[in-house]
Symmetry: C2
Subunit: 555 residues, 2 copies
């Protein structure tokens, strides 16, 4: 049987009440206890889950409904639970007073007065009230994050359309995760700063990708949530398109990673078209969709969350390196390899990247020779007949490197450096010497950039890191593997990221938050030194919609 009572005029957030329900359910005297605010949605839920009591007819959204399933029909149970509830509520109040001191406001107007530069409202109140509050905040030119679910698609479309006209963003509804301008919004992780911007229609999808990025020792700029429905036919990706514009404009974002379920077909087309307009590399993961081709212009498609993170980190490294180097846009790439297989792989990768054909004859060790780009295997018989292999005696390559000084069209030289037993005792010396000579023959406005990969281990007689340090101190770029080296070379000879003036989004540089709903979200923000005011929202006029509407008109 169900015993029940109402505690009038005491608004609490849903998570707190759920935790209280769980604690009370553990008492021996009861089977199960459900404690909820008396909102229409909660009343339906109490009914559907067998906790209904007619007592609740009188409850307003400001009243706590308590339903007790028990085999003990004494009224003592109500007294017991009532006492326990009071204790629990007192505990919460004490914790809140004893814990972080939060800036608080009971009305929206006073919240904005207390935090005049607030530019985002984080909404985690009951879903049926979320849209109205979001609408109010949009009128006030705030960006919106709606953590709440149970917001209708119609409301979502209306809010997002309105925001779009004002260059604002609505993240959500049902948006669990965002990190904006360093602020952890709802379920968020502490991730190092980096140059990867993340957009996601999936909360744990964002969390896993940024966690993997951190594991790979890289970091993020922003993580913008969309809510799971944003890329549906009905919503049309309004926030996805805004988020792309925001990260396109965000100078510290050099690579964009986009995560969602497969979008509706026409939305996919819109999103892909928007991505192609952005002069930054973009990793796209449309979860569980089949990939036709791994790359389409600046868009790299991933199959899994960790692959998305790995691709993003690769591109991020390339962009971060490229932006510190002089421009050689429009120049050609020359590869001078001592390892035949390394030359062959670089030729293959470069051919794919620049849409060229590899050479199949391998005449004179030439693995690729097209449009001025040239990859040579200097270990080919042509160079080694009667001479030691260039891994042993690197002088022939040193001459070839030096010669590039006289070839002004060449902007990038790609090289390997093989160490280990049998190899030259200090191959870096020869690479550095050849490169210095080449650079000396160039004018300042026609630089040559050298990119090297090192084959060999730390324990090799030459020591991997010592060779790398020597190369780096001679301004030679060292990449970890051949695909990285080729991607960087391609990036350097193509035009860089746009610096054309674009609309700016101040939110990405400075955030100040009104938090309506779960208090812990405000505490997390405050712990991260983000300006925040806790808006102690409660349903207007006790949740009576008619009365609320009249009151609104009176304001």
């Amino acid at each position: 049987m169900i015993q029940s009572f109402i505690k009038k005029g005491s608004f609490q957030d849903s998570v707190s009440l759920m935790l209280i329900s769980k604690k009370l359910s553990n008492l021996e005297e009861v089977d199960e206890v459900s404690v909820m605010m008396g909102t229409p949605a909660n009343k339906s839920l109490l009914n559907a889950t067998g906790f209904w009591s007619d007592t609740f007819n009188d409850a307003t959204p400001n009243d706590i409904c308590v339903a007790i399933k028990t085999h003990d029909d004494s009224t003592n149970v109500i007294a017991l639970i009532s006492d326990q509830l009071e204790d629990a509520l007192k505990n919460i109040a004490q914790q809140q007073q004893g814990g972080t001191k939060l800036l608080k406001a009971r009305r929206y107007a006073s919240a904005t007065e207390k935090l005049p530069d607030a530019n985002l409202i984080l909404i985690s109140i009951a879903g049926e009230y979320a849209a109205e509050l979001a609408d109010q905040a949009l009128d006030d030119n705030k960006n919106i994050m709606i953590f709440s679910d149970n917001v209708s698609v119609d409301d979502e479309v209306r809010l997002k359309t309105k925001a779009d006209k004002k260059d604002l963003i609505v993240m959500g509804p049902d948006c669990g995760t965002a990190i904006i301008a360093g602020a952890p919004l709802a379920f968020a992780n502490v991730i190092p700063k980096g140059n990867i911007g993340v957009i996601g229609a999936s909360g744990t999808g964002i969390q896993e990708v940024i966690s993997q990025i951190a594991l790979l020792n890289q970091g993020i700029t922003q993580a913008i949530g969309l809510g799971g429905r944003d890329l549906s036919e009905e919503v049309g990706g309004i926030s996805a398109l805004t988020a792309l514009k925001m990260l396109a404009a965000d100078e510290s974002t050099q690579v964009i990673t986009f995560i969602s379920k497969p979008p509706a077909e026409n939305v996919r087309k819109k999103v892909i078209a928007a991505m192609k307009q952005i002069n930054k590399p973009i990793v796209a993961l449309f979860l569980a969709s089949k990939i036709d081709q791994p790359q389409e212009d600046n868009i790299y498609f991933a199959n899994t969350l960790d692959e998305a993170a790995r691709l993003a980190c690769l591109l991020a490294k390339v962009e971060a390196t490229a932006c510190q180097l002089p421009t050689v846009a429009g120049k050609t790439i020359s590869g001078l390899y001592t390892g035949g297989t390394l030359a062959a792989e670089v030729a293959m990768l470069l051919a794919k990247a620049l849409d060229l054909a590899v050479s199949h004859s391998h005449d004179k060790g030439i693995m690729l020779d097209q449009n001025g780009h040239k990859i040579i295997d200097l270990g080919d018989d042509f160079y080694t007949v009667g001479r030691p292999h260039p891994m042993i005696d690197p002088s022939i390559r040193e001459e070839e490197i030096a010669q590039l000084g006289q070839q002004p069209a060449v902007g990038v030289v790609l090289m390997d450096l093989v160490i280990g037993y049998g190899a030259n005792a200090d191959p870096a010396e020869s690479v550095i010497s050849g490169f210095s000579r080449a650079c000396a023959a160039r004018s300042a406005d026609n630089p040559l950039i050298a990119i090297v990969t090192v084959t060999g281990s730390e324990q090799d007689p030459q020591s991997r890191h010592q060779q790398i340090e020597a190369l780096k101190s001679a301004n030679i770029i060292v990449m970890d593997n051949l695909p990285e080296a080729v991607l960087l070379a391609k990036r350097l000879i193509t035009a860089g990221q746009a610096s054309t003036p674009v609309r700016s989004y101040p939110l990405l540089n400075h955030i100040s938050v009104i938090n309506a709903g779960l208090r812990s979200f405000a505490e997390d923000l405050q712990a991260s030194n983000i300006p925040v005011v806790q808006y102690q929202w409660a349903p207007i006029a006790g949740g009576n919609k008619k009365l609320a509407a009249i009151l609104k008109k009176l304001n």
Copy 2:
């Protein structure tokens, strides 16, 4: 003009003479100097490169031919170069005496007497003599590595066929790299010990893959070279097939990585068929070939050297972990996830791995439910209506985990653990508690294995590593990402690696080397504490083949 002389009866290796040539060429008085042993091949080369002099007609393979290009026609040049050559040869002799003390032998028979357990001969003498020496060593039941090039295909086929009948291997000709039983053979790197065995028909290909493996903090068992022609139509992959048998039999090798250019079609079929007979995962990289499907039974195809290394390390980690766990072969997998996207990705990966279909209705959060395998999203509305999300309150999942104790068919439980702001303060505690209860309900012969991935960073309030440490100390396996977790789960429910008795290859456990040719190879072996004798090979009967044949018969 060319001036020339012969230095009689002084055999030196080709690399030493090449370095001497280079040094002498730097002298002001000359244009270029070529110093070579008077072998037939070298004589052709001197002719082809414009260094011929009729003086050389009398030179034997034991004589040094010196050709000097110069504009100075004084005979002084010959005296000068002759003096310099003598100095250089003296230097080499002194270095050899002053350097490492090597065990030395002038005849093959004495080499084997000095190192009775020698089981491999490393041959880097002039190519035209390499096959004969290899043949002799095969008769003597030695394994062979031929570094030399210029060995005919006919000789290669003959030697490899002969070796095959004796369960021996011929690596090469033109095999630049091998690492056997810890011995660096020719161009080799110092790589940590691990469980990945490498087979390669490309020297720098092997070197780059093992270097990348070391960068990923893993290691190798062996690296077996084949020579670039082994997988051609003519040679038919004889050594490739032997190498596969060797690593199949090698207990410490749990994953095999195979690198070559695309083999001839019928050789490819043979090699792939042999790979499928091996109950170990194999990564195959057929350089620059198009991959039709990324996986075929136990074979994983890679596109690049670093991808081959990454795949090998992933599989190696899975195998190394699996072999330390009790067997749950034939059991099912249960996934209990709090993150919806994580559950969806795991369902997709598991469906692909086990050839199952994912569930599209997602009824009650069920993402996959087939053949007893089941992946559930416990964040689905079905579980969270009126309850906090399991990321906040993990008790509902704790119950589900504990319930697995009563489901004896389930062998593996896959889980996520999401930390960060908003999430539970110690989610590991709940996972551990549920898992302990499940295990307590199981008998020792019906274990349950838990595999968890952690979403979140080290800087999160809960600390990634602290959560991981807690899980590990409760015997819960923690993997870095979802593909790793799924691969391990699949591996655990399928039969393990064969322990059926196979032919053993003692070479892989203990190696003892006769080095014929480049002295530095012997020095490198000795520096690595590998038993080695330097066989100071010189052409028999001064290279006179007829006389040599007569002498051989007299022996």
